[in-house]
């Protein structure tokens, strides 16, 4: 059976937000040079990624025509930590920085009871079971804050919402709709509405077709496309607010003059939906007539129970000054540490025992889940670069991994023999390990990659030979002979391992010259055995090594032998078959030696 692992993206991609520099400085209450702002970012854990402008961005994208009329106002592209959803908009960024600088006290977010209700019908449980909602009352948007509001939703969709699969956000003009609202799941043909920015009505089935060519929305269709029932939110007059996670209805769309915003988040992960909702309302309630006050919505569950959202939880954790000091390597009082933490939005106070600190975790800091998160924030406020450096008192006796030690010794031995080391790719094409070596891929125990971006990543190599031959091919204009080697891992399928595969360390050397040079690789084998202190032996001997003629489709008939050591086959050598040499674009013949190193440990 074929075994198929995935290739994944490496690190957490750092989200980047673009903020207008002058607006940012106005909100921060002062101006900075780029270098000064970079410094500030550095200490706080942000990175000023790029200084650009709308005009420059469009020019880069080669939209020269649009760039002509574009703004030249400076935009800062700032990278924020992937777990800080409260820093994903300029509102949160400014708030975080001002609190960090002791220029502002963290606001206290409050949810007050309202009269609106969202009813979740039980049919949603099969497709997208969770929904939460909240209202921003008496809000006043400016052009900038309105754009920021839209942008935050997009940023959340791309990060915590996992491209809307886990959570989808819909924001609506409450004055254009009428509660109570219902969150239902219906067959796609029964859902009919005018979607955002369209002039006609569509059924949900038609929308799946319509949005297939939409460069933005087509990526989300798969989330519900094949479901028997699609999620949809209605108001009391059956006006469609949204069809999550795809598109909102046009009737409820928000605009610059919107005064009351109804926010709904539907989800497959309730915890994340709550964090998303809390993030949006804590950030944008600053523009409400009563700042930082959010109106709650009664969310009726299928079983009839009612939960008020947003929850905006405040949580208390207790930690001792000793614990923080010990983990960081500093010596501060509980009072000092409490004030450091407060600058990180974790409002804290020292307790009367002089040792304990009461830390309040606000709804904007859902990333704080353990004392170690508190320790980090204390260290950030203290300044990582102010912490005195020490050396661990750990005494250990060191040793190199035995296989790597042997590999290093052999590398030197091969170099002394006049071979040059190369470092080739572990991933290659199926042809490289099969057809180019006159083998069938079904007969090769290779690990196949499920999602290769190109043909070069189809399999993990089962032999070092193709890599060496490709290297010679790219260097074939160099003086002859070209003698290269590599000692590295190949990968085989192995059903007894928990990951279904194992690595094996192989040595491979190739001699490329006008004459094939069987004697060259044979001599190399003898030298390697000498270095490994393995004496020549005969077939009847239990120990020692010898070579024995064999057939291998990659090698020339009658010029190929297996290497037997201690009664076991440990490798192969010989003249490569001309068809193989041709496949790798080489005009001259090659001889090769391949042995498994692990046998000699």
């Amino acid at each position: 059976s074929v075994f198929r692992p995935f290739l994944c993206s490496n690190s957490i991609a750092m989200p980047t937000i673009g903020v207008k520099r002058d607006l940012l400085f106005e909100a921060l209450g002062r101006t900075y040079t780029d270098e000064q702002f970079e410094e500030l970012c550095f200490d706080f854990g942000l990175e000023l990624d790029e200084v650009t402008s709308e005009k420059l961005m469009l020019t880069k994208e080669q939209s020269e025509k649009r760039a002509e009329d574009a703004s030249e106002a400076i935009i800062y592209k700032i990278e924020v930590p992937a777990n800080r959803y409260d820093l994903l908009c300029v509102e949160g960024l400014v708030r975080g920085i001002l609190i960090f600088q002791d220029k502002m006290v963290p606001p206290r977010y409050e949810a007050i009871r309202g009269k609106e209700r969202l009813v979740i019908r039980k049919e949603t449980s099969g497709v997208r079971p969770h929904a939460v909602a909240a209202i921003l009352r008496d809000i006043t948007f400016s052009q900038e804050s309105y754009e920021s509001f839209i942008e935050l939703q997009e940023k959340l969709h791309q990060t915590i919402c996992r491209k809307r699969a886990l959570v989808a956000i819909g924001t609506h003009d409450l004055d254009a709709i009428e509660g109570p609202f219902s969150y239902e799941a219906l067959p796609p043909d029964s859902i009919r509405f005018k979607p955002l920015n369209q002039t006609e009505e569509f059924t949900a089935t038609e929308l799946m077709e319509f949005y297939k060519t939409d460069s933005h929305l087509r990526h989300y269709l798969h989330i519900i496309k094949d479901e028997p029932l699609y999620p949809v939110i209605y108001d009391r007059n059956r006006v469609v607010l949204s069809m999550p996670p795809i598109i909102n209805g046009d009737r409820s769309k928000i605009h610059l003059g919107t005064k009351n915003v109804f926010i709904e988040c539907t989800a497959t992960d309730l915890n994340k939906a709550k964090i998303v909702l809390d993030t949006i309302v804590t950030m944008f309630s600053q523009y409400c007539a009563k700042p930082f006050v959010v109106e709650a919505v009664e969310v009726e569950q299928p079983d009839g129970s009612v939960i008020l959202h947003p929850e905006l939880p405040y949580r208390e954790e207790f930690i001792t000054a000793t614990e923080i000091n010990k983990k960081v390597g500093i010596e501060e009082s509980s009072a000092k540490l409490a004030s450091l933490l407060s600058r990180m939005c974790l409002v804290s106070e020292p307790m009367r025992d002089g040792k304990t600190i009461k830390v309040e975790i606000p709804p904007t800091r859902a990333d704080v889940i353990h004392g170690c998160d508190i320790v980090e924030d204390a260290a950030i406020a203290y300044g990582f670069n102010n912490v005195k450096m020490t050396i661990p008192k750990t005494n250990t006796i060191a040793a190199q991994f035995p296989l790597n030690h042997l590999t290093d010794l052999l590398r030197n031995g091969l170099a002394h023999a006049g071979f040059t080391e190369v470092l080739t790719f572990a991933l290659c094409s199926r042809d490289d390990v099969a057809t180019f070596l006159n083998k069938k891929i079904e007969d090769v125990p290779a690990v196949h990659i499920e999602n290769p971006k190109t043909v070069e990543f189809q399999v993990a190599r089962t032999t070092l030979l193709p890599g060496l031959l490709k290297t010679i091919s790219c260097n074939r204009n160099l003086a002859l002979p070209i003698k290269v080697f590599e000692i590295s891992d190949v990968v085989y399928q192995e059903s007894s391992k928990d990951v279904g595969a194992r690595n094996e360390r192989w040595l491979c050397a190739v001699n490329y010259n006008r004459a094939p040079g069987f004697e060259v690789v044979h001599g190399l084998l003898d030298r390697i055995m000498e270095l490994l202190e393995v004496a020549p032996g005969k077939e009847k001997d239990a120990e020692g090594y010898f070579i024995k003629a064999t057939d291998d489709s990659a090698y020339f008939d009658g010029r190929c032998a297996e290497v037997i050591c201690g009664g076991k086959r440990v490798g192969i050598l010989g003249v490569l078959h001309p068809s193989v040499v041709r496949k790798f674009d080489l005009p001259m013949p090659c001889s090769a030696l391949e042995i498994s190193v692990e046998e000699f440990l």
Partner: protein, 211 residues
């Protein structure tokens, strides 16, 4: 409760002083095989092994291949190498990590370091390591580091007062900076110019390299 159960629990409900991540940890997701994106995956196995016997302090390192499925360009390949160091002992501090990093990088000829708060899912605190590049006249990132989270260590069975500090960097990036190489394919893979390999001087990190 076995290791798998403990991991599942700390993700879903919390434990060991943590609120947990509050989602449904699924074995199907965990079983999906991928080519490792960092060697920390293997360091974690080593730490688990260590925790099965009586704990003794260790210092481990690894220099090995990792894989990524991202857009390829002049400085990015699908596979490259990572250098990783790990120290596990009682009561290690952030100051200890900073000290080790200074010692480690000074061996590579890098003496001026600054540390920036960062984020890794499995370390807290986390620090990106920056060094001052005299040629480029700016601070460049040379590595990533942190203290492993209790949600990672405690399910393994490591004692509560054991801290594990770790750091990592790519092998190719500092090499390219040192030798003034613009395209990573000139350094690793089959397109490397063998003449460059033949002609290369000794690598003496304690001495300035001519570029």
């Amino acid at each position: 409760m076995d290791y798998l159960e403990r991991v599942k629990k700390v993700h879903g409900e919390g434990g060991y002083g943590s609120q947990g991540y509050k989602y449904d940890w699924k074995i199907e997701e965990a079983k999906k095989n991928i080519l490792r994106t960092h060697t920390t995956a293997v360091s974690a196995r080593m730490l688990y092994k260590l925790a099965q016997g009586k704990f003794k302090p260790v210092k481990y390192f690894s220099i090995d291949r990792v894989f990524r499925n991202e857009t390829l360009d002049a400085t990015h390949l699908a596979e490259f190498h990572q250098i990783e160091g790990v120290v596990a002992d009682y009561d290690l501090t952030l100051g200890d990590l900073i000290g080790v990093l200074h010692q480690f990088f000074s061996k590579l000829g890098i003496k001026r370091l600054r540390f920036k708060p960062a984020y890794n899912p499995y370390t807290e605190p986390s620090m990106e390591v920056f060094s001052y590049h005299e040629g480029l006249k700016k601070w460049v990132e040379v590595g990533n580091s942190g203290v492993f989270r209790p949600e990672m260590l405690r399910p393994m069975g490591l004692p509560e007062d054991v801290s594990v500090i770790a750091w990592g960097l790519s092998l190719e990036r500092p090499t390219m900076i040192k030798y003034g190489i613009d395209n990573i394919r000139d350094l690793i893979g089959h397109k490397v110019d063998l003449q460059m390999v033949y002609d290369n001087p000794l690598c003496r990190l304690d001495k300035e390299t001519k570029q």
